[in-house]
């Protein structure tokens, strides 16, 4: 049986990869995807901990997180679309009219 900390570490790694994605990709959609990765990493933690705690709460929280992820995705993608309408691009750096 694999130890809990294996799962935790795995989630940590995924989470870090997710954060990296937010920076290195200059494409709004990929950035959103990175955030999804982060959320999944967290999910993994919840499930694993729930398992080892012997409680189903971990899984339930995961469902809620999925819901949140869905909601965020909906709003986020809607924003992406409206942004694209304004500026025919998805490069986050292109949207810097507000600054300083």
């Amino acid at each position: 049986m694999v130890g809990l900390n294996h799962y935790l570490i795995l989630s940590g790694i995924l989470f870090a990869i997710g954060t990296a994605g937010v920076f290195v990709r200059r494409n709004l959609i990929t950035v959103l995807l990175s955030i999804e990765i982060m959320l999944n990493a967290v999910n993994l933690t919840f499930v694993a901990v729930g398992r080892y705690r012997g409680t189903v709460d971990g899984q339930i929280i995961t469902f809620f997180v999925m819901t949140v992820a869905a909601a965020e995705a909906a709003v986020g993608l809607a924003l992406v679309i409206s942004l694209f309408r304004h500026r025919e691009t998805l490069n986050p750096d292109a949207f810097s009219s507000l600054k300083w």
């Binding site: 937010v22 967290v42 965020e72 409206s82 942004l83 507000l98």
Partner: protein, 477 residues
């Protein structure tokens, strides 16, 4: 019934939101509907219920606890909401915002905030956070025509999602720690493991939760979204989010950090002290050179967040009460100030550049006077709410011996006075401009009047409010 007493305010607000939506659905194109009044009714109802619930530390469904603390925040939120509704009435018309959605989202946001303030379960806090965040993101970008709005909304959204991931991770660690997300249990676990110092998980949890909250209250270095979002959003929304979101976020911040995480005080106080100092300094210093009033007030709100963090750092009953009072004072003040900015805007032109205010005194002495009072209150000069608020916060800090933070606080507030005065200088001591000066509707004026009365009342006779604030924190140990 009484089993659900605690959630009644939320339900009322949520219902009024849904009603607003439905009303929009039945609205003929071009037809005016007093949707704002629906919202106001809902909020007044919520306020009344909250008043009724006062002192009846009601709990519902195990995760909502309408103790006085939550109720006080409910009151503040209702005040903010009502002021927003009053001022929105013709702003919505003028800017041709989708009325139904606008009000619905505002009310949903308030609902989420109330939830956040009352929740005793990290999961629920997270959900509430998401509700209010999503609503506010959308409100930020509700002016579809403006590229700025969309950009602001997106920045706010992206960073919000990013930070909420951290927040969630923090919850995960807290869950790993205690096997539950109920803050009572987390508190117990932490209290038990006092000896031998906190476990790594606990520290990770504290750190990440702090990040999540710090983002919402826009503390440095998690503040970057604030100026852009505030500038890009419709001014009235800026007013709403600068006050309401702060209130809700701080409520949860206090509830989480001062009850379950209280045992870890000596571990998070240093961090938050540094954050507070940075926030106060950067907020004021960068505010000095801003020429856009919304941006300026964004930095000012960052600075105020720093002051509020001071109350949290004090981690004493005075500190908690101070935060509550300060939130109230700041709410009415900032609503007023940004409300005026919003009302002076006209359909095509935002009235938010510093120079737009030149000579306002000549054309609109009344508005100029009100604006002055609000600005003085923001700057913390007597006899205004802002002064009492600052005094209260700083006395909390001093009481706990955080002299340096208090000194930084007062000095930065002097600097901040400088940029508030820049607006005053514009209004009174500079000649006029071509800026549009549309007439202000009666409802909006009523809103401003309410705000200014509140500011002066809290400034001159703060006793009642202070006592309420003190009475509100009893349940947070």
């Amino acid at each position: 019934m009484s089993a659900y007493a605690a959630i009644i305010p939320l339900v009322i607000v949520a219902l009024s939101a849904i009603v607003a939506m439905v009303a929009e659905a039945f609205r003929e194109p071009g037809e005016r509907m007093p949707i704002a009044w629906l919202g106001i009714i809902g909020l007044v109802g919520a306020a009344i219920v909250s008043a009724v619930l006062w002192n009846s530390d009601a709990r519902s469904m195990g995760v909502i606890r309408s103790d006085n603390f939550a109720l006080f925040i409910n009151m503040v939120l209702c005040v903010i909401g009502i002021l927003t509704m009053l001022m929105s009435a013709d702003v919505v018309e003028r800017d041709r915002l989708p009325a139904g959605e606008y009000y619905a989202l505002t009310l949903f946001a308030i609902c989420g905030m109330m939830m956040m303030a009352a929740a005793t379960d990290l999961l629920v806090i997270f959900l509430a956070l998401e509700i209010l965040s999503l609503a506010v993101y959308v409100l930020t970008g509700i002016r579809r025509r403006s590229a700025g709005g969309a950009e602001a909304a997106f920045k706010y959204f992206l960073l919000g999602a990013f930070s909420s991931a951290f927040f969630l991770y923090g919850i995960a660690f807290a869950f790993a720690l205690s096997g539950s997300t109920r803050i009572e249990q987390i508190g117990e676990v932490l209290a038990r493991q006092g000896a031998g110092g906190p476990s790594t998980l606990a520290l990770l949890a504290v750190g990440l939760l702090a990040v999540g909250f710090a983002f919402k209250v826009s503390a440095v270095p998690f503040h970057m979204w604030t100026p852009d979002a505030y500038e890009g959003a419709p001014t009235i929304v800026t007013a709403f989010m600068s006050t309401a979101v702060k209130a809700a976020a701080f409520a949860a911040f206090v509830r989480v950090f001062l009850s379950p995480l209280e045992p870890l005080k000596e571990h998070w106080i240093p961090v938050l002290s540094v954050l507070a100092a940075l926030t106060m300094i950067l907020g004021t210093v960068v505010g000095v050179v801003q020429t856009n009033i919304k941006r300026m007030l964004a930095y000012s709100s960052i600075a105020h967040a720093g002051d509020l963090l001071l109350g949290l750092v004090a981690a004493s009953s005075t500190g908690k009460a101070a935060i509550l009072f300060y939130l109230l004072a700041y709410a009415v003040t900032n609503m007023g100030a940004l409300g005026i900015v919003a009302l002076l805007a006209s359909g095509d032109r935002q009235h938010d550049e510093l120079r737009d205010f030149a000579g306002l005194w000549k054309e609109r002495p009344g508005l100029a006077g009100l604006m002055t009072i609000f600005l003085l209150s923001l700057g913390g000069l007597p006899p205004t709410a802002g002064f009492i608020g600052k005094w209260y916060i700083f006395s909390a800090a001093v009481q706990e011996g955080h002299y340096w933070l208090a000194i930084i606080g007062v000095l930065t507030s002097v600097v901040s006075v400088f940029f508030y005065l820049r607006i005053v200088v514009m209004m009174y001591m500079t000649e006029g401009t071509d800026a549009p000066r549309p007439p202000v509707a009666a409802t909006a004026l009523a809103g401003l009047a309410l705000a200014v009365i509140a500011v002066l009342y809290l400034g001159v006779l703060p006793t009642r409010a202070l006592d309420l604030a003190l009475a509100s924190i009893s349940t947070i140990f």
